[in-house]
Symmetry: C2
Subunit: 393 residues, 2 copies
């Protein structure tokens, strides 16, 4: 078997992630590799920490990229902050709350679930009631931006409630970071994780995390060692911590870190408030087009995540066939539903570099063309104009 | 603070890794990102598995890249194959055997150490004696190619002994894969891990692993769930396993996987036996030059790893200053000693794309120039000619 170099197609990525990667980030990925202990790499690491603090809006010293995908970022939070026997309140309103439960249990903790409907925000009252019934809880975990449903929860309120009960918070900001406000210090988040491949417009494979002082104290006071050597922050800190004396832990993924650095430089240049505003405006443009077609959002307006839009599939339409045709005929990727929403929704992302009017219009036009050819019951000929009116407002 | 794009210097990487990355691999890293569930990405994944089987010389179905650095590859072996209470014999002859012990203990296992001197191969007789004294051992773990010392152990013999005692084997082939023979099927290795950034000439961040049938059976028969969700192979297999029905687990690091694919295509084109031969010949060239300078290898000839050369620092020489000058004046990276060899050795790698006569001569000339200017007690004017004679033989 003779195998050729892999030359991928040029897609437009408007699913739940990865999103389109900025050309400057791709160029950065191809720069010459240097050593993970090279002083020049160390200087880049210092900038990277500063830029991540900016993205997370925090002064937390322990703000670094975990050398693995977002799932490992999640695991680094749970495996470091949960000790065997610890009770953890997990708010679930989609797939990723379920994964949090898995993480709690594998770390030896006891998960107490607070369930909300998929497609809705987490209900703060239910969290409060659960904490009142479980005064021995040590951690509250929730997903700020549920990638599986497009719902956004009120992280400030949830963190305030957790703190009333003296619980640390672990917050999933995988899909929100860079696309809508994630205010780690203002909200009082203790530990937060994200991914490189959503609103940061970087390639997948790195997980930005940030830990506040209370979380670091908890880690330092652990009775048992962390079950994972690779994710043990007391060791990882030795490499990322003090620029004067980096201690080898694992070999950092050099080129992906170039890419993340570049993506954060781009965010810094744009200004994070401008990036939030851009996502919000393009969301409104997409929304205008979607509604002009007669399609519906499954998440109530006040709880919608601008960068990830969950749209109900019209009755009688083969949703997988629509996605397949969009990919094959238009090189356009949108996402399917997950878990209990599988087959019922499409997930249309407009994240980071991919959040622009050109993509919004392309997506609406392509979706309309496919739905029309499949004789789906939609309004035609109105979506693009409706979106354009909002995008240029 | 205004931060610019990071433009790294162009180094020559002849330390213990990362090694110089092939320009074709860097180019692959910059190709357009596509989705992790895109059918075209799935086709690339199938090729990647085939190419990794070739690199490991195995037919093992479960041969995949873990989406994280080599250390996570190590952890994926231990966390899946060791259950709480399991006794694991760990042969240690350098830093990485010590890390194996950490992994055993964090997985809840009991590590029984077989110690050999740093800079020597693992002694098979000691392993046999230890197994005779610990008939309840379930796993034998050892490092095939000790990156911290440049010693290579007789993996075939160690695996045969382990099998006599009905133990599974976990083998560290981080530095050997692609540079010297790693014959997973012929040796009867049950689980093996490596890294992308050594003799494969790819960027750091991915960990090729391979698990044989006995290992997969052991994983399927586990009484307790794996402590790590991210590294749980029963879940990871759902994504990498059957090409017809990939199940989302985590978002794969798309562009780094392009890079690994390209590096393996290059290895396949060269032919793995030719790659081994190239490393062996360039090692002999480097050796001729090093010895012509009057410097000495710390590993006995029969136990030397061709791709990583541990050289004793001459008396009275500030070894860190030498490395610093090589980096600053020659853009050349070589490695320091680790652990008990810190300050006593240099580690000169010639791995993958970096293993070529041009680099060997450059390294020898630069090292000689720096040592001469520091008035080190070496033979001068002979190294390059000695190396060249061997390189062109």
């Amino acid at each position: 078997m003779q195998i050729q170099s892999f030359v991928p197609p040029v897609r437009t990525l408007m699913g739940p992630g990865p999103s389109d990667v900025h050309p400057r980030v791709l160029a950065a990925m191809a720069r010459p590799t240097i050593g993970h202990l090279d002083p020049q790499f160390g200087a880049m690491m210092e900038q990277l920490k500063y830029l991540l603090q900016y993205a997370f809006q925090t002064k937390n010293t322990l703000t670094i990229p975990v050398s693995a995908p977002g799932s490992a970022g999640m695991e680094s939070c749970f495996v470091n902050l949960v000790e065997p026997g610890d009770k953890v309140i997990v708010c679930q309103n989609g797939v990723f709350g379920g994964r949090m439960k898995e993480n709690v249990e594998r770390a030896g903790g006891v998960a107490v679930m607070v369930q909300d409907p998929w497609g809705r925000a987490v209900d703060p009252n239910k969290l409060r009631e659960t904490l009142q019934a479980h005064r021995d809880a040590k951690v509250v975990a929730f997903v700020h931006a549920e990638t599986s449903t497009g719902a956004q929860s009120d992280a400030a309120t949830l963190c305030a409630i957790a703190r009333e009960f003296d619980c640390l918070t672990i917050v999933d900001a995988v899909t929100s970071l860079g696309g809508s406000p994630v205010l780690v210090d203002e909200w009082g988040v203790d530990a937060v994780y994200s991914g490189s491949q959503k609103c940061l417009s970087c390639t997948p494979g790195l997980a930005p995390v940030s830990f506040g002082d209370r979380a670091v104290e908890r880690i330092k006071a652990r009775k048992q060692r962390v079950a994972s050597w690779f994710l043990d922050l007391t060791l990882v800190m030795g490499y990322w911590g003090d620029k004067g004396k980096r201690v080898y832990h694992h070999t950092a993924p050099i080129n992906p870190l170039y890419g993340l650095h570049e993506s954060l430089v781009i965010l810094h240049e744009e200004g994070i408030e401008n990036a939030w505003q851009r996502h919000a405006q393009n969301h409104q443009a997409l929304r205008a087009g979607i509604e002009a077609m007669g399609l519906e959002f499954i998440v109530p307006e006040a709880e919608r995540l601008p960068q990830l839009n969950a749209i109900g599939v019209p009755a009688g339409v083969d949703e997988a066939k629509v996605r397949q045709r969009l990919l094959q005929e238009f090189d356009l990727e949108i996402g399917a539903g997950l878990g209990e929403l599988a087959g019922k929704i499409w997930r249309i992302g407009q994240m980071g570099f991919a959040s622009n009017p050109k993509n919004i219009l392309y997506c609406l036009n392509a979706l309309e063309a496919v739905l029309v050819s499949m004789k789906a019951p939609i309004e035609t000929g109105k979506a693009a104009a409706a979106a354009l009116a909002v995008a240029t407002a």
